[in-house]
Symmetry: none
Subunit: 208 residues, 2 copies
DNA sequence: TTCAAACTCGGTCTGAAGGCGGAGGAAGAA
DNA sequence: TTCTTCCTCCGCCTTCAGACCGAGTTTGAA
């Protein structure tokens, strides 16, 4: 029997998952919690084998709870089960010590599978999330913008100031085509899809 | 007699202003300083009625000095007298508690006038700067929450996360045309001309 | 000298963005 | 009720962005 705790602030979701897991007799749902704080406490108390943890909850998010648990109970396998798969959620969660990372679009059997695999030490990473991780690993711990050339960084900062290609070309005394080339390279290096996301990147990483 | 202190790191400028002010007998120049730090100290000590303060000085800028003085001597009227009239200088200065804002292109009589008016509680704002303030009052200073409707704010935050119109329409369950309408309204209300600048706005104002 | 990287610029093409004008429905205020 | 604000959506149109091609320059390292 795999001892499991489910942490999710949406009762419907929580009950649904539990109901499903109980249809398989190798799971033992030993507890449930509706917030990160509550969850962390419960986990440390009951020491389950596996935890299904939502991110983005009302009282204390899943990342904080994960960190807290991993400090005191590193053997516990925490599976993140969330709707989000953007960088802002994935990396902090993994750094916090999450064992697997699933999306709520996953099927019930996939979730059950992930729990069984976690119990025997196998990580499961959602394909969409795996992509993020791969690109991140290629650049190691380096921030993505460290791979940018000086010129590209200049252009990126201009984007971060909300400038258009035309304005950038005038400021840097280069052709608008050249600016476009730089922008394209920046977008692929930073793994974002348009200049707006690049601008967001600038501010999130406090480059400006 | 209006007790005045002049703070400017350029000795020539400082002496020039003082020399001129002394030709009118209603001014009493009680002190002068060549840096923000020195100026703040002197002001708190001598408690003048009006201060002529430069921005951008070597040791401690005028904005810091202004903040410091206003905390302990809010009755003191600080007139900013500087060469710059861009957003980076104007708004922080006013928020710091500056009473009037003049440019160094102002004539001597205008400066003298501003001092007299400050002494009786009248603000003087340089026309060029006033323009900045007006547009700012329509957008930035109202902090967006007042100008934008709730829905528009939702859309703005999505933009601040780098989402496309398509993605926003899916998230908010509305048509892409509707998103465009909101975006257009947001752009005009914030006085920016594309979504990238809107995203920058979001982060500069720490709405995310 | 050879090679790679970085910066520059060109053309073409597709889709997204955004301006402009209009319009209907819902809800609340006068 | 009438009026106003807000949210919703439509079509038409222009411009910008960005992808995908290729290619010339310089500089510095191998």
């Amino acid at each position: 029997m795999i001892r499991v705790i489910v942490v999710d602030d949406h009762e419907i979701v929580r009950k649904g998952i539990i109901a499903y897991l109980q249809t398989e007799d190798e799971f033992d749902i030993v507890g449930e919690a509706a917030s990160g704080n509550e969850g962390a406490e419960l986990i440390l108390q009951l020491k389950p084998d596996v935890v299904l943890m939502d991110l983005m909850m009302e009282n204390g998010n899943g990342i904080e709870a994960t960190k807290q648990v991993m400090e005191q109970l590193p053997s516990c396998k925490i599976i993140i089960l969330t709707s989000y798969y953007d960088d802002e959620q994935v990396f902090p969660a993994i750094q916090a010590g999450a064992f697997s990372y699933l999306l709520k679009t996953s099927s019930a059997t996939e979730i059950a599978d992930a729990i069984k695999k976690a119990a025997v030490g196998e990580n499961v990473i959602e394909p969409k999330v795996a992509g993020k991780m791969m690109t991140s690993f290629r650049s190691e711990n380096k921030k993505a913008h460290d791979t940018l050339t000086e010129r590209e960084l200049e252009v990126l900062l201009c984007i971060g100031n909300g400038m258009t290609n035309q304005e950038i070309s005038e400021k840097l005394y280069i052709g608008i085509k050249t600016v476009k080339t730089h922008v394209s390279n920046i977008l692929s290096k930073l793994d974002v899809h348009d200049r707006t996301q690049a601008a967001v990147y600038v501010h999130r990483n406090q480059l400006l």
